[in-house]
């Protein structure tokens, strides 16, 4: 049967030090992984739509005039770093004896996410101020569906992280929390991948 000893699901594998989650981890993570793949289709279609509509500026401003590479660089750095800090949180979950390091790394991750979201909001405000809000053109619509959707995902991830810390405060690091952190990790790293495609297709592609 598939409840083999060497559980080999994607993402962090807690291993034999955590027998309480072994039975559920594979099923839970696989299910979440399937959800992510379905979410990937959503993003893929938004990318295809964006690629088609990038030239439909309807006489308004296009990518070159609107995007600011500096702010994108900061956002990217923050998000990449947050993937690493989440990795540290995962390791803390696996190896640390107390909840302290886990919570600490989750907080750092949240901080980086806040930097990301702050700069992203600033970008959006800038675009709207330049008269390129979502109702300006097909291009602007496609942009404001794709990029903020990723941002909303990040925001959802933050809410989830905060909820997990609250659970830790109430229940300690129990089975549910472990499974939750594992899945949030998948989510977080997945969003990073989406961002790689966003900065490539939308920003770099638009400025190239």
């Amino acid at each position: 049967m598939s409840r083999a000893k060497d559980v080999r699901h994607p993402g962090l594998r807690l291993g034999e030090g955590h027998p309480d989650v072994a039975a559920d981890a594979e099923e839970m993570n696989f299910g979440f992984w399937v959800f992510l793949m379905s979410d990937a289709i959503v993003f893929a279609l938004l990318f295809a739509t964006y690629a088609r509509m990038v030239s439909s500026v309807a006489g308004g401003l296009g990518p070159e005039a609107l995007f600011d590479l500096k702010s994108i660089t900061i956002e990217t750095a923050a998000l990449l770093a947050s993937s690493f800090t989440f990795g540290m949180a995962s390791l803390a979950l696996k190896y640390a004896r107390s909840p302290r390091p886990l919570v600490k790394w989750l907080c750092v991750t949240l901080l980086l996410a806040a930097v990301f979201l702050g700069f992203e909001l600033h970008d959006f405000a800038h675009m709207i101020a330049m008269g390129a809000g979502p109702s300006r053109s097909g291009f602007a619509s496609a942009f404001f569906a794709l990029v903020p959707l990723h941002g909303l995902h990040v925001l959802a991830g933050c809410v989830w992280a905060i909820a997990l810390m609250a659970q830790i405060a109430i229940h300690g690091i129990d089975k549910e929390v472990k499974l939750g952190v594992q899945r949030l990790g998948l989510f977080w790293h997945f969003l990073d991948i989406v961002w790689v495609v966003i900065f490539t297709v939308v920003y770099l592609g638009g400025l190239a």
Partner: protein, 701 residues
């Protein structure tokens, strides 16, 4: 912004179905207003009667704790099917109304074009999203975990959330009859017609949110089924030992996972256009409405295979069971199912051959479309060979199956015609197409689901359905379908456009009258289904099959009592081959007492599904009517419910081993007291669910 707007958004007296006819009484408004008011009145009345009955019987607590908050896959499945029957009734009445209109539509008829538009839009939307999808989701929910030998699906609470969201979506359509108007944009909701510029009212919004809720629910069901089949099969049940219905459930689940996102993207973009003035599909400002057709059918075509594959699975089960033979060509059926599932992602453009892309694009998709015929043909031959030299028992499911086999091939042939772009240009958007897809959906999907309903009903409730009324219904369905739709091939080929309220050429009329007769017969079929249910409940003692195996079945679901216990299996079975229960019966080791019973852990009830149904429904309602406080409040509700769920602990209960043993031994006593019946007596009261081994019973090689 007035107080009224603040509180009720754009909801006002004009939303009531009789208001226009009071304000502007003309012949047209009175006729249409009266029909809608009567229908809405009937709906409200039905709701009141149900509430009154439940209250009088004092059953609210029972309903809440045994059904609405239950996470038992069997109960959730049954609730899905109940929803499907309710919605089917409404959609069929609407179909009959449309047929009546067109029968008398020479030079006008009695319905206004808007009313007719609402009718085909609600009919189509209900039939696909709130009849067909709940039906097949219900059947999979009920049967698949039993077939693979597990006690529940992988995510039982999410299962109940799926049901909640689907129900909330259905409620949007139900409410739209009494408050405001539904979309006139058809089940596909094409912009720019459904954009705010042309359709500022609530109709398209009702459609958008109904469909979006259902699509989210379906996506979750897909994940649930796929993970269950991947991770929860009983020990020894390898993929190639799974019953064929489970195989089709797996492929359908995979299609759900990947085909629902395009729909969600399409409806969400349309909503952004309508609510926030985006320009995805508008005429001006760089919008591109052709992308909508593209996105919608990226979902739409796989969707028709989501609809048909489970029915194929059901037919595979019943042709083998009721022919007393093993399934012919198991491996080829599995491969054909997989091939269909994969090809179904590569043909979506055949729904818009006429949109203007160049001929080589059309040719590529046309050829891909014709390819689907090959695996489908393989299946048909496999089923024929399954029956070949068997002793076919003419039970209700087999009658549906034979009706399917004959009619579906015809429908498939008309599909191959349509797959040729040059021909499609001629009959695109005519009633020929309407005839084609009803020809696939009714004999394919609907007959399959009704056969499944007959086949597994005894396992759900412990008694069989009445055969006589079942037969009346099945025959009426087949005859009614042929009368209602064969004429449409003819008038479609003569050029009659679909979605047309009236016509001015009398040649269409005789055909329309025949089609009307067909619709009447279909209504008889529907009524017989309800009579049958009623009669069967009355005769439930005589029809009881407590031993659990009324049809001499071969898979695990028949190896347990009927109705199935909450935990399905006293001990998880060990599987060593296909058709495990048939082999056990042959070897004489069915109905054993296991050496040892263990405590069984089952998930506790959860109110999350109901909470999200209410919050999701309120959210959609607020969005439709622009009641922003309700939108904010229900968003908050959704958030609190989901985050709150994360804090839940202690979600499992234990059924002690002693109790399991008690139930198991009681069942075995029933089996011991039962007289085994040969297949000739299958339909008689003598059949209490224990199959005799006679020369006609299935042989496992």
């Amino acid at each position: 912004m007035t107080l009224h707007h603040l509180l009720l958004g754009r909801l006002d007296l004009h939303a009531l179905p009789f208001w226009t006819m009071i304000e502007h009484p003309t012949h047209e408004t009175i006729v249409n207003g009266t029909i809608t008011t009567a229908a809405a009145g009937l709906e409200v009345l039905a709701a009141i009667v149900v509430i009154a009955l439940v209250t009088r019987a004092g059953k609210w607590r029972y309903l809440w704790s045994e059904w609405l908050t239950s996470v038992d896959h069997k109960r959730i499945g049954i609730m899905y099917i109940a929803l499907s029957f309710v919605m089917m009734s409404r959609a069929l009445i609407e179909a009959a109304l449309m047929r009546t209109q067109q029968a008398f539509g020479l030079g006008g008829g009695f319905l206004s074009p808007e009313h007719f538009g609402e009718l085909f839009s609600t009919h189509g939307t209900i039939m696909i999203f709130f009849m067909a999808m709940p039906f097949l989701t219900g059947v999979i929910n009920f049967a698949m975990p039993l077939q693979i030998g597990t006690r529940d699906v992988s995510f039982p609470v999410m299962n109940s959330v799926s049901l909640g969201l689907t129900t909330a979506g259905a409620m949007m359509i139900v409410i739209s009859l009494a408050l405001g108007k539904f979309s006139t944009g058809g089940w596909s909701g094409y912009p720019p017609f459904t954009e705010a510029a042309f359709n500022a009212g609530v109709g398209p919004d009702y459609w958008i949110w109904a469909v979006t809720l259902s699509s989210l629910g379906t996506m979750m069901s897909g994940i649930n089924f796929a993970v269950t089949i991947y991770k929860r099969r009983a020990p020894g049940m390898t993929f190639m030992r799974m019953p064929l219905f489970t195989w089709t459930a797996l492929c359908t689940a995979i299609l759900m996972i990947f085909a629902m996102p395009p729909l969600t993207v399409a409806t969400a973009m349309l909503a952004l256009d309508r609510y926030l003035d985006f320009h995805f599909f508008t005429n001006g400002s760089g919008g591109n409405m052709m992308n909508y057709a593209n996105l919608f059918w990226l979902f739409g075509h796989p969707e028709v295979y989501i609809l048909i594959l489970p029915a194929f699975g059901v037919y595979s089960e019943i042709f083998s069971t009721f022919s007393g033979k093993l399934l012919y060509g198991y491996t080829s059926l599995v491969l054909a199912t997989m091939a269909i599932a994969v090809i179904s992602f590569a043909v979506w453009l055949h729904h818009f051959f006429t949109m203007g892309q160049n001929a080589s694009v059309n040719a590529a998709f046309g050829i891909a479309t014709m390819l689907v015929g090959i695996p489908t043909g393989v299946k048909i031959y496999d089923w024929i060979l399954t029956m070949f030299r068997g002793r076919v028992r003419f039970t209700v499911p087999i009658v549906y199956g034979l009706g399917f086999m004959m009619l579906f091939v015809l429908g498939g042939l008309s599909g191959i015609l349509l797959a040729n772009p040059t021909l499609d240009y001629q009959v695109h958007n005519t009633l020929f197409l309407v005839a084609h897809f009803h020809n696939m959906l009714i004999p394919g999907l609907l007959f399959g689901m009704l056969a499944a309903y007959h086949y597994w009903f005894p396992k759900a409730f412990g008694f069989r359905l009445d055969e006589r009324w079942g037969m009346i219904s099945a025959v009426s369905w087949i005859v009614g379908f042929m009368l209602a739709f064969f004429p449409l091939y003819v008038i479609g080929a003569m050029g009659f456009p679909r979605r047309t309220v009236a016509y001015f050429d009398p040649v269409y009329r005789p055909w329309m009258l025949i089609a009307l007769a067909g619709a009447a017969v279909v209504l008889v079929a529907l009524a017989s289904l309800f009579v049958q249910l009623f009669v069967s409940i009355r005769r439930r003692e005589a029809l009881a099959v407590p031993a659990g195996d009324p049809w001499d079945g071969s898979n695990l679901e028949w190896a347990i009592a009927a109705p199935a216990p909450e935990y399905n299996f006293s001990v998880i079975p060990d599987v060593s081959d296909r058709n495990p229960f048939m082999i056990a019966k042959q070897k004489g080791d069915a109905y054993q007492t296991p050496a040892e019973f263990q405590d069984i852990t089952m998930p506790k009830n959860s109110p999350l599904g109901m909470a999200l149904a209410v919050a999701g429904g309120a959210l959609a309602f607020g969005l439709v009517w622009h009641i922003w406080w309700l939108v904010a409040l229900s968003c908050l509700g959704v958030l609190v419910a989901i985050v709150g769920q994360g804090f839940a602990r202690d979600c499992e209960k234990v059924i002690p081993a002693a109790e399991v043993r008690r139930q198991h031994e009681a069942w075995l006593r029933t089996v011991a007291a039962s007289r085994a019946v040969p297949r000739d007596l299958e339909g008689e009261p003598a059949n209490t669910g224990l199959a005799a081994r006679d020369r006609f019973s299935q042989a496992a090689e």
